[in-house]
Symmetry: C2
Subunit: 389 residues, 2 copies
């Protein structure tokens, strides 16, 4: 028996934590540090660690857990309340980057005939990656400035919730097409089938699970285990029976579980498994996949173009949406700027695309750059947008 | 990419939890249910799940986490206080089952020339498996009867602590010999080398870690991560550089970490990862390895003999030790009975032996039977031993 995976795991946990603490000191989220740790340890720099099947399976569980938690965090009541304005902001905030990413991909000639998916899907997938928003860094910045409950602040929070859902829908559409590129009608049928299945499974689960929880009011391990089982089963069924991404299944499972009265306990326990084991492996494994050999000059140009597109399209998309909903010019800019940062969701989406032949390995580097850059730039721009009093 | 491991994981988590709840209802520990779930799902019954490399690696992390937690639970202060009496009880409680298991193995002709280790080591290893004590079920029973702080109760707790350490030493000796059966002197040198290394690493770690914790008094994730890194590193170094079992390394890491002021926080977080993911996989994987085809009549006879030996040798060994320390006859029997139950440690030891060619797959079944039987019988006998007032 080979015990290398033990020391790999130890190195990954140590590296992601140490660099995460450094980036935290520099007022950046720990995700940035974890990414850099993977980059540093992987073939791009030191070459200490290589991607093994064990690491990739643990990292897949990491993605599933992260997406489940994203669903779990969604406040469906809040979503109903924030309503139409948030929806319009999110819709344009997804549509404009989607088209912008697609246009950038055409402009730079991205897309390879060597991959299994068609060049059209590869290009539109670049757009899908750009749709993801991660507002945690904006929320922290807003908190620091005492502006979370400002008009722009609430709009950002509401729009981010809906942005997640729209992003999942875009991802589901594109990845399903990559899986069985033959018949678009069948693909749509399967997606509809999955969402019907999800609704039925969700209602049944919520009824049984909810009744059980009401009978045993104590916080209890069995609820956590059962929700983990539900999460894994939905992820598996999505992939296996509907050709829908496993992370979509996990997200939907999280949404359903968010209705449970034990939501906070469940979230807390998942969070422990996430930070102690599966999430560091996932973030590091993204860094491990970055290969700098493939950083040709065309990729460098593409990275620069994509960076600009990523920032500009979110500001324009969300800002326009806000303007349509009668926010002032200043507030519209604040909202647009608050939605710039991409985080773990962009990485999760990119990872999924790579496993489906939608993006080549060479594109990992630009995506990591965008996640890191937008995360750094968002709090700076956000402070500027608010300070212009 | 194949997603079967997701549904395997879901089935294992659900199965171990449901059967664990059933056994809990029957006043047995959940470990018994988890074992039965593996038995039921594996090739011995339904054949739904097969042992994959992913499951075996996750289960190995499970073992490491369980042994780390066993070390973490050890109260070194308590150990000093309980002192000589506990030591004598534990020593005889290890020595008698060790010899008893060896004798039973000779009697039944256990040991195969097809395995890599010598027949002598294979037989003595049966004894090593019998040394392990798991007092959690006794502690629960004593609590129920309000006898935890009785004279016999404290003796059981103290002896169980030392029993663990003596068991680890026996395991380390035998497994090291199996690894490099050529030179016994070199083996001993390596074992001594490992313990020297462990002491130095432990002191260095405790100093740095302790100083750090005192500087940042808040409970914090970084401490948990760092202790996990320490645990994995010690496990890896034990195997890789000293030919000592990885679980020995993990146990020692747990002992060192038990001195930390953050011990309770660390224990709690490890416990979450353990019950949510790695421990169910480990217990189920033991059940998965049981193959009933190999339950020949000779194995059935051996199972029966070993059962009697397992119960009798613990009672005699510990009882004799207690008698030597001037406990009354009644108390000596109570102490002996309280130490009967084997639990996860026996499974962990057996698992280790299998990976080193010390026991054949056919012996999993008798060992599982012993763990289940001693766990069921201990509370019943213990109540009888106390009720004879």
């Amino acid at each position: 028996m080979n015990y290398d995976y033990l020391i790999y795991l130890a190195i990954i946990l140590l590296g992601t934590k140490l660099l995460g603490m450094l980036t935290r000191k520099a007022h950046m989220p720990q995700v940035v540090g974890a990414l850099l740790a993977g980059l540093l340890l992987g073939p791009a720099c030191l070459g200490v660690i290589h991607d093994t099947s064990f690491l990739s399976q643990v990292s897949e569980i990491g993605v599933i857990v992260l997406m489940f938690m994203a669903g779990l965090e969604t406040d469906i009541q809040e979503l109903k309340r924030s309503g139409k304005a948030s929806f319009i902001i999110a819709l344009l905030g997804v549509a404009v980057p989607l088209l912008g990413g697609y246009a950038a991909a055409i402009l730079c000639g991205v897309g390879s005939s060597e991959l299994s998916a068609s060049v059209f899907l590869q290009r539109i997938f670049i757009g899908v990656i750009l749709t993801a928003t991660s507002v945690s860094i904006s929320v922290e910045t807003l908190k620091e400035m005492g502006k979370v409950s400002s008009k722009a602040g609430t709009a950002i929070l509401g729009a981010a919730l809906i942005d997640d859902i729209l992003g999942i829908i875009a991802l589901t559409m594109i990845t399903s097409m990559a899986d069985s590129s033959t018949n678009i009608l069948l693909v749509l049928l399967k997606i509809v089938g999955f969402f019907l299945f999800a609704v039925v499974a969700g209602i049944v689960f919520e009824k049984i699970f909810g009744a059980w929880i009401r009978r045993y009011p104590l916080p209890n391990r069995r609820f956590v285990i059962i929700s983990f089982v539900f999460c894994l089963t939905m992820a598996y069924c999505a992939e296996e029976f509907f050709g829908v991404a496993d992370i979509t299944g996990a997200y939907v499972a999280g949404l359903v579980t968010s209705l449970s009265p034990k939501r906070d306990v469940i979230y807390h326990e998942f969070d422990t498994v996430s930070y102690m084991l599966v999430a560091p492996v996932f973030f590091a494994s993204i860094g491990l996949k970055v290969v700098l050999d493939s950083m040709s000059s065309s990729i460098l140009v593409f990275t620069a173009v994509l960076l600009v597109v990523a920032v500009v399209t979110k500001v324009i998309g969300c800002g326009l949406g806000a303007k349509l909903c009668r926010y002032s010019n200043r507030e519209s800019i604040q909202i647009g700027v608050g939605m710039i940062s991409r985080g773990e969701v962009a990485l999760i989406v990119a990872n999924k695309g790579a496993s489906l032949g939608l993006i080549s390995d060479g594109l990992y580097a630009p995506i990591v750059v965008i996640v890191v850059f937008t995360t750094i730039v968002t709090p700076i721009l956000l402070k500027m947008a608010f300070k212009k009093n």
